[in-house]
């Protein structure tokens, strides 16, 4: 379950006349990971590509070009064997090319019209006939912009002219014989001609109308062309995609001999096959070629470590210096919900062959950590929705099916944990203890619902935990009557620390002090004991991300230790499998001994025997580690630093609580801005809600990014460090589905 598929190395050989057929068979089977043939004897050479290759490559380029023109290059083709790819391509080009040409002509025409329209638009109000700009022998026309009105200067120069002026935009017509004078005068007035094509007639306004009419015609024709293109895409896209697939397979096949070894008359292939498929391939070859093709299965020992005696057994004992290139390729076998995490694992690198595949563990822990860090019913549901969208779309390059699915699972856990453990939606708790009701909003109060207590008549939802007896709130005597100030004070409490704030208004009930004092019980006791019970099946809302941060930090450390111990146990297995049991004890079991000893020593509580066992165990662990480190690195004392590193690893998990608290802190800040500052202290202010929800959108985006990355990081850096090597090769079967 936690191991990649078992592989076996196979050798194939036969007469060259079978080469093409064998390639065909291997391609059809699609399970052989072909290796570049390494020949220690030097008597063979690599094969040459089959002759059909050149033509297939040319056709492939052609097909891909057409697919791109159609805008259908993302289509996945179905398998087929066309009789005459060349004819199909010719037919496709004949159908598609005219539409492509028409579209490009129309685009050109449209850009010409646009250019003229924008050049002419400023002159719309001038009353001139544009034909004067053309070839009229007796008149010289000017249309353009000027810095100063040229009319007085023209009059002074004795030019006979007709002008229409609108601010800086002028149209001037002069008699042809005055053209030189007019040129000079206009140049002095800073004239710069409009860039217009020749041959227009009518006033600028008429011309503009004409242009917009022609523009509309072009657009209509363009839409027609696009519609025809759509029809062509529907008709040809799938066919061309299938053809593309077929041709690229052909090219693959013709290139295959480059990985083979050949002599004058024979060929040899070396590759890896999943053990459960080896028989199928052998039978297929035997059925077609009988004894004339040689097939041998060598087991999963790395190349160059041939040990025929083992006959397929695990020859891992002396794995030390095996190059991953010589090892079997790694085919991960995960199905269903765990599958997307193969992609996440791919960011780090595949496991080595023989190592455990941690994908399924990531499937368990990624959503769990994500859920703990995000922990909010509504935000979780929103993230599920975003994940659903990201399955098909990419935003800022982030996305794809794997990321989308992982986010959906993370969102689900966030909603679940947010609902049950934290009992909050949109950063607001479902219910709060009555004694905090003045300081903290709750959905119960905002919506004006009065959820009954357990001992009162109730429906499906009821409050459980604290009974609202007078005793429980005796301390709250001074805490009433905060009115609208309450929110602000709650915020101050949250951000500045309670002790300085525990003034008369709050009495003793500042929540920071609750943890050990008010409530009997340990460090893990929540500050607010009231939950909503859903029909007695499940209670919602135990911890508050901010008020119970201490408890949550402790929980984080507990999770850290569980997670890291699991990592170490996997490490014992991995090291034992690859480097032997001795090193596994020195490298990994030593850690487990240290970890088990420390609590014994701490909890010994004065009992000398217990203390001795604890300290002794820790010393034994460190000594073992020292020896192991000395063996691997050559210097043993580094192991002492490593012990401190482990403490760092554990503390690193406090991000599970800290990130949740920081998000809750941000929500509190937006609450203060929205409801206190803008809403005037009311939770029913519409503007306040808008501001708050905008804040929540930002928080959700951050939660997704940081929750996802931090959760991934806890796996990669802290967890994997304890057992994972990585660096295995991907299994890429010849003729198999392309990744």
């Amino acid at each position: 379950m936690f191991k990649p598929a078992r592989m076996t190395r196979v050798l194939l050989g036969g007469h060259k006349s079978h080469l093409e057929d064998v390639i065909e068979t291997l391609h059809d089977e699609g399970v052989v990971h072909v290796e570049d043939f390494a020949d220690p004897t030097g008597t063979t050479t690599i094969g040459t590509p089959l002759e059909a290759g050149d033509q297939a490559s040319a056709l492939l380029v052609h097909a891909r070009g057409l697919l791109k023109t159609l805008g259908a290059d993302g289509l996945k083709g179905k398998g087929m064997r066309p009789h005459d790819p060349e004819a199909i391509l010719r037919e496709a080009r004949e159908a598609i090319q005219p539409v492509v040409d028409e579209t490009s002509d129309l685009r050109h025409e449209q850009s010409t019209l646009d250019a003229e329209t924008s050049a002419l638009a400023p002159f719309a109000s001038l009353d001139v006939d544009l034909s004067m700009l053309g070839d009229i022998r007796s008149i010289r026309g000017y249309l353009g912009t000027v810095r100063t009105d040229p009319r007085p200067a023209l009059t002074a120069a004795g030019v006979s002219f007709d002008a229409s002026v609108d601010g800086a935009h002028v149209a001037v017509a002069v008699a042809a014989h005055d053209a030189q004078t007019a040129d000079r005068v206009l140049a002095e007035a800073g004239f710069s001609p409009a860039n217009l094509p020749e041959g227009a007639s009518g006033t600028p306004r008429q011309r503009l109308g004409e242009l917009s009419q022609r523009g509309a015609e072009v657009i209509a024709r363009m839409q027609g062309a696009e519609a025809r293109m759509d029809t062509l895409r529907a008709e040809w896209g799938p066919r061309l995609a299938a053809l593309e697939r077929h041709l690229s397979q052909e090219v693959d096949k013709t290139q295959a001999p480059l990985q083979f070894a050949v002599t004058e008359t024979t060929f040899h292939v070396e590759g890896w096959i999943p053990v459960d498929k080896a028989n199928r391939v052998q039978n297929a070859l035997a059925a077609r070629y009988g004894d004339s093709v040689y097939f041998e299965s060598l087991g999963d020992a790395p190349r160059g470590h041939d040990d025929h005696g083992h006959g397929g057994g695990h020859g891992h004992d002396d794995h030390h210096d095996v190059d991953p290139e010589d090892e079997a390729p790694v085919k991960l076998v995960n199905r269903g919900l765990a599958k997307p995490f193969e992609f996440m694992l791919g960011l780090l690198g595949r496991p080595r062959y023989g190592e455990l595949d941690p994908t399924k563990l990531m499937f368990i822990f990624f959503p769990l950590f994500f859920g703990l860090m995000v922990g909010d019913l509504v935000v979780g549901l929103v993230i599920m929705l975003v994940g659903h969208l990201l399955k098909t779309k990419k935003v800022f390059g982030i996305g794809g099916p794997a990321v989308g699915r992982a986010l959906m699972m993370g969102g689900f856990m966030a909603a679940l944990i947010g609902g049950v453990v934290f009992g909050e939606a949109l950063g607001i708790h479902f219910v709060v203890d009555e004694k905090y009701a003045d300081e903290e909003p709750s959905w119960e109060n905002i919506l004006g619902m009065d959820i009954p207590y357990e001992d009162e008549p109730h429906g499906f939802f009821y409050k459980t935990g604290y009974a609202p007896t007078a005793d429980a709130y005796a301390l709250d005597a001074g805490g009433s009557g905060h009115g609208t100030e309450s929110l602000q004070q709650a915020d101050e409490n949250a951000t500045t620390g309670h002790d300085t704030n525990a003034t008369a208004a709050h009495g003793d009930d500042g929540h920071g002090d609750d943890h050990g004092d008010d409530h009997s019980g340990g460090i893990l006791t929540p500050h607010s004991k009231v939950h909503v019970s859903a029909g007695g099946i499940v209670n919602l809302g135990y911890y508050s991300k901010i008020h119970d941060i201490q408890a949550l930090l402790v929980w984080s450390v507990i999770i850290a230790i569980v997670h890291l111990v699991l990592g170490l146990i996997l490490g014992v297995r991995n090291v034992a499998a690859s480097h032997g049991v001795t090193l596994a004890i020195q490298e990994k079991v030593s850690w487990l001994i240290i970890l088990a000893s420390i609590p014994v020593a701490i909890l010994s509580n004065g009992d000398t025997t217990m203390l001795a066992i604890g300290v002794g165990g820790a010393v034994v662990g460190i000594v073992l580690l020292w020896i192991g480190t000395a063996k691997v690195l050559g210097v043993g004392f580094i192991s002492i630093l490593e012990v401190l590193g482990f403490a760092g690893n554990v503390l690193s998990y406090t991000r599970l609580a800290a990130i949740g608290a920081s998000k809750a802190g941000m929500a509190l800040a937006f609450m203060a801005i929205g409801f206190d500052v803008i809403g005037g202290g009311s939770y029913h202010s519409v503007v306040g809600w808008i501001v708050y929800l905008i804040g929540m959108v930002a928080i959700t985006a951050l939660a997704m990014l940081s929750g996802g990355l931090q959760s991934l990081r806890l796996q990669f850096v802290e967890f994997f460090q304890k057992f994972y090597t990585g660096g295995g090769r991907a299994y890429q079967p010849f003729g198999g589905r392309r990744a």
Binding site: G397, T654, Q710, R713
Partner: protein, 66 residues
């Protein structure tokens, strides 16, 4: 105490920023070269975030007067 908590987060933040500055720049460079590096870059860039989280945790502990 509030100042202490603020300093804990603030200075840890500066430390993280310094670390992420160079990693981020390198990651963007690698991504420009080959888009497949985006995921790796993103993961590597958040590694120093631990520092600021330690800072945040310290701030919380100071705030809780432990």
């Amino acid at each position: 105490m509030a100042i202490g908590a603020g300093l804990a987060v603030g200075m840890a933040g500066i430390g993280t920023a310094l670390a992420q500055y160079s990693i981020g720049a390198a990651a963007v460079g690698a991504t420009a070269e080959d888009e497949k590096n985006f995921g790796k870059g993103l993961v590597l860039t958040v590694i120093p975030e631990t520092i600021v989280i330690f800072g945040l945790v310290m701030a919380i502990l100071i705030w809780l007067r432990i």
